[in-house]
């Protein structure tokens, strides 16, 4: 116990580990309980079995699993809250001190500029002292962070035979590294997950009955009747929470990958929760397979990184890829950049190969992640065998491929442009699942990973990311406009919001993207839960064409959903506003520098309007106007408090979770500042403004540095309001438009449908993606499969039959040969032996004493021989 106290006191990072493990614990508990239940049920004829069966719930297995899971996740939330508070406290103290030092240093330098000669050297001394202090303080902060907020241990270590050195061999580690991003993610995930657990207690309540009738599955005897799966649902939820938190917690790519797959399987299980429904199982398979495609890329990326960098740890990877901030000779100009160059393999010496820096060289310089005492960051010779503690080089295209591979994984997980098809179908799962997985957390995992791995991505990779995001957000938004299923609309909006995030990351808006991730998590969860509440109220009616005018029936739901709608639409002072403005501003700054990428700004800008339109459409169609379906309308009712309470909380959150002071300032959001702490210096190096006035001359690297030095962020900062206002204008217009159509009924959507039937069909058909895939992927696969089956059936089997026939034939002859010759020989030998034995047996008198005599004789003989040999040896 004492140890635990010390552990959490000195290494508060373990709070997060605890938060990660609690859901796992609940998962295991529920699993064991249900295992016992099943065992007991199998033997419930016997008294013992019956006892166990009743002990673990009997026929009516109440809400206990739900309470266990909810309690676990709530506990996790408490843990991560404590951890978060402690982390922010420590961080803020250190950073205030560091800022004070920096300001003082700045004052001194300005003084030095204006001072007279006689004071200069004293000032210089003082400056040096201050610099030393600053460096010291930063060192302290890093060490404190690594001491308190990081930790890892070797999970398994596979060595090549003979290597005993700890640095060699394959080491897979499990570890945790907490920075403000992951801390925030923890709080966010656990908080939302807790609310969603509470919500699901209400929403899944009908699964409590021992017999549930599934109206959507038709069997020979009418509807399918099955056992309720309340506990299973929460078990999956717990497992899911564990894997998601573990993903956030991880400090190395391998752990991320593990939890990545766990998340995938959980989403598979939850999407296919209503297994009996064909659509559900199809959707589950679809999601899973689509993710496999992405994960193939992920694995490729992992392999490339492992082979070239020899480590999975984030910090080490980044230290190897990106130039260090400073080396023994002071600050480095290309600090935090990817240094490219050419390696001349012919010109190799003992020191290694010659490396000539070049801004578009074919190789990338890899830096040591355990630098020696005295070293020069940019070297002209790299060792030709990549060791983690010395300079080496790897092909540039491989780095790009690795980045793209990992990004492909994220594309699959976050349903980006080529692979976005699975997410809308995933709405087959229960609505809380949709809320938890497909809005708040799992799809966020992709974005989170892109953010984590940011330093890995070269400029080219980033551009790809940005375009993927752009296309995705536009496509999804357009589809969302025509969807009538309320959950599908939300699903597409999710896809498009994720596109926003990806785009932001691509254009260097690291903070903006992840900031949007947080805010979006809140309001999207809110929206989904609201839709869930609506669906629940309307007895699992999801089609908006059958709703309408529900506002008086379910006020709380309607109002909280309105908050979510406004938030996602980016109305000022709602959370969405801060993040979306940041993204747009970044995109604008980006195209200022790279005008050729104009679309990267236009698409999000336009889509902001579209978003506002379809969200408004959804809300209005659902809650206003006159009811379209009387049956639904009469039965509609407000949900129980377990469902509404989370709605209210989330509504409040999605209004004010991003506020800062002053509220009206889009850049003063505290959430954003907190995310900002975690930003890797590579981001600034790639997109930030670099000041060359004080930098020392490092020969030709100057050129590289200068050419790479852009300042997208500077422009973004200056044009923040421009972008924001443009978007706001569009939003206002589209809101008004939506209002006219769906509220005032000035325009009729049906007319628009008749106006552009082809476009509508195209959009309804989701841009024909599924059809395209089935044409170019599925059908060819089937055809090839048939060919292969035919080949297998006729050619291979034929060969095998032939072989077997030949074998039989041969073995016949062989049998003859065996019996005649081999056995003959063997028998001959056996007979000889037998006769010999029959003659020799007489030696075995069976009398102990004769044996002893033989022994003694043998001893004598041996002694004679020995004596003879010894004499020979000694004498000769």
């Amino acid at each position: 116990m004492m140890n635990l106290v010390e552990l959490f006191g000195e290494h508060p990072g373990w709070y997060f580990v605890a938060a990660t493990l609690t859901p796992l614990l609940s998962f295991v508990l529920i699993l064991l309980a249900s295992a016992m239940w099943c065992a007991g049920r199998a033997y419930r004829a016997t008294p013992a079995g019956a006892a166990i069966f009743n002990l673990f719930g009997g026929e009516e297995r109440g809400r206990i699993p739900a309470f266990v899971a909810t309690g676990a996740i709530a506990l996790a939330f408490v843990f991560s809250l404590i951890g978060f508070i402690r982390f922010t406290a420590q961080q803020s103290t250190f950073e205030t001190q560091i800022n004070q030092l920096q300001t003082k240093l700045h004052q001194l330098q300005t003084q030095k500029k204006t001072a007279t000669e006689k004071w200069t050297h004293e000032l210089e001394e003082e400056i040096e002292a201050e610099e030393a202090k600053l460096e010291n303080k930063e060192k302290m902060w890093t060490s404190a962070r690594s001491y308190a907020w990081q930790g890892n241990f070797d999970w398994l270590r596979i060595r090549p035979a003979g290597i005993r050195d700890a640095d060699n061999g394959t080491v897979l580690q499990l570890g945790f590294k907490i920075d403000s991003l992951s801390a925030l993610m923890f709080v966010m995930v656990t908080f939302i997950a807790t609310l969603i657990h509470v919500f699901s207690i209400g929403y899944m309540s009908e699964e409590l009955q021992p017999e549930v009738e599934d109206h959507q599955v038709h069997t020979a005897h009418g509807h399918l009747v099955r056992r309720g799966r309340f506990g299973r649902f929460f078990m999956f939820l717990s497992l899911f929470c564990f894997s998601m938190l573990n993903l956030v917690l991880a400090d190395n790519l391998f752990q991320v990958f593990l939890s990545w797959e766990l998340v995938g399987i959980c989403s598979y299980l939850l999407i296919g929760f209503y297994t009996e429904r064909q659509s559900a199982s199809n959707a589950a398979n679809k999601a899973f397979i689509t993710n496999r495609i992405g994960d193939a890329g992920f694995i490729l990326g992992l392999l490339i990184l492992w082979t070239n960098l020899g480590t999975f740890n984030f910090d080490e990877i980044f230290q190897r890829v990106r130039a260090p901030l400073s080396d023994t000779h002071g600050s480095v100009d290309v600090a935090g950049r990817i240094v490219r160059g050419n390696v001349d393999p012919n010109n190799t010496t003992k020191a290694g190969q010659r490396f000539t820096p070049d801004e578009d060289g074919s190789q990338v310089l890899l830096f040591p992640h355990r630098p020696p005492e005295h070293y020069h960051a940019i070297v002209s010779r790299v060792s030709d065998n990549p060791k983690p503690d010395q300079h080496s080089a790897m092909p540039y295209w491989l780095l790009v491929a690795a980045g793209l591979g990992i990004f492909l994984g994220c594309v699959g997980k976050s349903a980006q442009f080529p692979l976005q098809v699975w997410l809308p179908d995933a709405m087959e799962g229960p609505t809380p699942v949709s809320a938890l997985i497909h809005a708040a957390t799992m799809v966020a995992a992709g974005v989170y990973l892109v953010g984590r791995c940011y330093p890995l991505f070269t400029y080219d990779a980033l551009v790809v990311i940005a375009y993927t995001g752009g296309i995705t957000l536009f496509v999804a938004a357009t589809i969302a406009v025509v969807m009538t299923d309320i959950k599908k609309v939300l699903a597409y909006s999710t896809v498009s919001q994720l596109g926003y995030m990806m785009l932001a990351l691509g254009v260097g808006g690291w903070v903006a993207g992840l900031f949007h991730l947080m805010t979006h998590a809140f309001f999207k969860a809110l929206l989904f839960l609201c839709s869930g509440s609506v669906i629940y109220g309307c007895h699992h009616e999801q089609d908006m064409l059958k709703m309408g005018g529900l506002f008086p029936k379910m006020k709380i739901t309607a109002l909280s959903m309105l908050a979510g709608v406004l938030a996602i639409a980016g109305i000022p002072l709602f959370t969405g506003w801060y993040s979306k403005d940041a993204i747009l501003a970044q995109a604008l700054g980006f195209i200022y520098v790279h005008p050729q990428h104009l679309f990267l700004f236009l698409l999000p800008l336009v889509t902001a309007g579209i978003t506002a339109f379809y969200m408004a459409r959804m809300w209005l169609m659902t809650f206003t106007g006159k009811p379209r379906d009387e049956h639904v309308y009469e039965h509609a009712h407000e949900s129980p408090w377990t469902m509404t309470a989370p709605l209210i909380i989330l509504a409040v959150c999605s209004v004010c979770v991003a506020w800062g002071w002053p509220i009206y300032d889009a850049e003063a959001s505290w959430l954003e500042h907190n995310v900002h702490h975690a930003q890797h210096h590579a981001v600034l190096a790639d997109f930030g403004h670099v000041d060359f006035t004080e930098s020392k001359d490092h020969g030709e690297y100057w050129v590289v540095a200068k050419k790479q030095a852009q300042n997208e962020r500077l422009y973004a900062f200056h044009n923040h309001h421009l972008a924001g206002n443009l978007a706001l204008g569009l939003v206002a217009i589209s809101l008004a438009f939506a209002g006219l159509i769906y509220w005032k009924r000035v325009l009729d959507p049906a007319e628009a449908k008749e106006q552009f039937p082809s476009l509508h069909a195209f959009l309804m058909d989701k841009w024909r993606f599924d059809r395209l895939y089935s044409v170019i992927l599925v059908r060819p696969a089937l055809v090839v499969g048939h060919w292969l089956a035919w080949f297998d059936l006729h050619v291979i089997d034929g060969l095998i039959h032939l072989l077997s026939w030949l074998t039989v034939l041969a073995s016949k002859w062989d049998g003859i040969f065996d019996n005649a010759i081999v056995d003959g020989l063997v028998n001959l030998v056996g007979n000889v032996m037998y006769d010999a034995g029959a003659r020799l047996r007489n030696v075995q008198t069976g009398y102990l004493r004769s044996y002893v005599l033989f022994l003694v004789l043998a001893a004598a003989g041996i002694f004679m021989v020995l004596a003879y040999f010894v004499r020979m040896a000694m004498a000769g």
């Binding site: 004493r849 005599l853 003694v856 004789l857 001893a859 004598a860 002694f863 004679m864 020995l866 004596a867 010894v870 004499r871 000694m874 004498a875």
Partner: protein, 219 residues
């Protein structure tokens, strides 16, 4: 011809003669008695050599333990008061000749080695390791023989010794003893079936002679 030599010759004579007596005597219990003197003589030789501990152990284990066991064995398997199994003269002749051959060979090899290394054997090491050293080397604390080709070490050369442990053999022997204890108890336990049958229907019992089963109660 010092006192030690005299004692040696006395003890050696006792030992050898008694050993021969063990061989020639036909009565097994007398053989045991002669064996007693042989063993006693051997332990006396140990004392003479200064190996007190070994000598005492010899007495305790052999005379106090093994011999008594042997006599028990005699009496448990006794069919008459004086057991007597003669063998043919021919066998005697063979055995004796073989034994003589062996002895000749051994003596010859001794002589040969004498010729080869005249200094061998005549050097008396000043001090015999006392029980403390033995105990320590059984615990692996003291120093034992130097590694190397044993025969290659000329006598009277005491060289740098390395630490070597007899702890493991010691443990093994103890465990071995335990196993033996159990095994012997298992093997020798009175067979119910037999002990039910034997005393009644054993022809060579009856007249005032002892039989093993009765004594088995006492032992």
């Amino acid at each position: 011809m010092t006192l030690t030599d005299v004692l040696f010759y006395l003890l050696a004579a006792t030992t050898g003669i008694c050993a021969l007596a063990v061989v020639v005597t036909q009565n097994i219990v007398r053989a045991a008695a002669w064996l007693l003197f042989t063993l006693g003589g051997v332990s006396g030789l140990f004392f003479l050599l200064g190996a007190d501990f070994v000598g005492a152990t010899q007495l305790l284990v052999y005379v106090g333990g093994t011999l008594v066991l042997v006599v028990f064995g005699v009496m448990l398997t006794a069919q008459g008061p004086f057991i007597n199994m003669r063998i043919s003269a021919a066998e005697w002749a063979i055995a004796l000749s073989v034994g003589l051959i062996l002895y000749g060979v051994l003596a010859a090899s001794l002589v040969i080695s004498k010729q080869l290394e005249p200094s061998a054997g005549q050097s008396v090491s000043g001090e015999m390791a006392d029980s403390t050293v033995l105990g320590q080397s059984l615990l692996g604390q003291s120093q034992a023989a130097p590694a190397g080709y044993l025969a290659g070490i000329p006598a009277s050369v005491s060289r740098e010794r390395k630490k070597m442990s007899y702890l493991l053999p010691f443990e093994i022997v103890s465990v071995h003893l335990l196993v033996v204890l159990i095994g012997a108890a298992y093997l020798a336990r009175a067979k119910r079936r037999r002990s039910a049958v034997v005393p009644a229907s054993s022809p060579q019992r009856g007249d005032g002679r002892t039989n093993g089963q009765q004594l088995g109660v006492t032992v």
